[in-house]
């Protein structure tokens, strides 16, 4: 008895999987996902260039020598 019931339950799982995956993918707005991906890429590129700018600033700052003023 439980074998046929287990089989039915497994068939239900497979049908739900088919249905849920198809329904979910059909409801995704792929154009919106692509826009979000592009926006993320821009943010990443900006943060990378900011990091490079900071590194350059650090390098330049390290090269700056202390100037001593002779006020006497």
């Amino acid at each position: 008895m439980y074998k046929s019931e287990a089989y039915d339950k497994f068939q239900t799982l497979l049908y739900r999987l088919k249905f849920d995956v198809t329904a979910y993918i059909a409801s995704i707005d792929f154009a919106m996902v692509q826009q979000q991906d592009q926006a993320q890429q821009v943010v990443m590129a900006n943060s990378q260039s900011e990091a490079e700018y900071l590194k350059m600033l650090e390098k330049v700052s390290a090269e700056v020598k202390e100037i001593k003023f002779d006020l006497s």
């Binding site: 339950k9 739900r16 993918i25």
Partner: protein
């Protein structure tokens, strides 16, 4: 008494075999997806397979939904609202009216085609690697959620038939 215990052990063994076979079937699905992560050719193949599967599923699902709606005695408009909610149809007013006037048999064909066109247009804007990522995430998420529920159901079934 011994005979009764033997019977319980035998049924329990059979139950474990059933659970094991189901687990193997689920794990094969998972392995197919996860195993293709590092191989570009396999990723492309998997994406094509899932695309085909989804396209084939669409008409089955529409047919099944129509059967449910007919059983409940609902109208085509009610059916379209359900489908809109489930599949984000985003039907324009004219299109909705055109579908509403159809019979369920006509709707089954026309709505399946409409959904297929919508899906193909959606897939066309994405590159294969991103599609793979989306398919993988969606598939694994649903597979895991349904498997957890299935295990609960099976545990309930086991208790109900008095195997433990």
């Amino acid at each position: 008494m011994e005979g009764r215990h033997f019977g319980i052990r035998k049924h329990l063994f059979d139950y474990d075999s059933v659970i094991n076979k189901q687990r193997q079937a689920i794990y094969k699905k998972r392995d197919d997806i996860l195993g293709s992560e590092t191989d570009e050719e396999l990723r492309k193949y998997l994406v094509e397979q899932i695309k085909l599967e989804i396209e084939e599923n669409m008409s089955d699902i529409v047919r099944q939904q129509i059967t449910n709606v007919k059983t409940l005695g609902q109208s085509t408009a009610q059916f379209l609202r359900v489908m809109d909610k489930e599949f984000s149809l985003k039907l324009e007013h004219k299109q909705f009216q055109a579908f509403e006037e159809m019979t369920f048999e006509q709707l089954q064909v026309e709505l399946s085609l409409f959904l297929l066109d919508q899906l193909k247009a959606k897939f066309a804007v994405m590159d294969v690697n991103r599609l793979y990522q989306i398919f993988k995430d969606v598939y694994l998420y649903h597979l895991d959620m349904l498997r957890m529920k299935h295990l609960d159901d099976m545990e309930y079934l086991r208790d109900k038939v008095g195997l433990m």
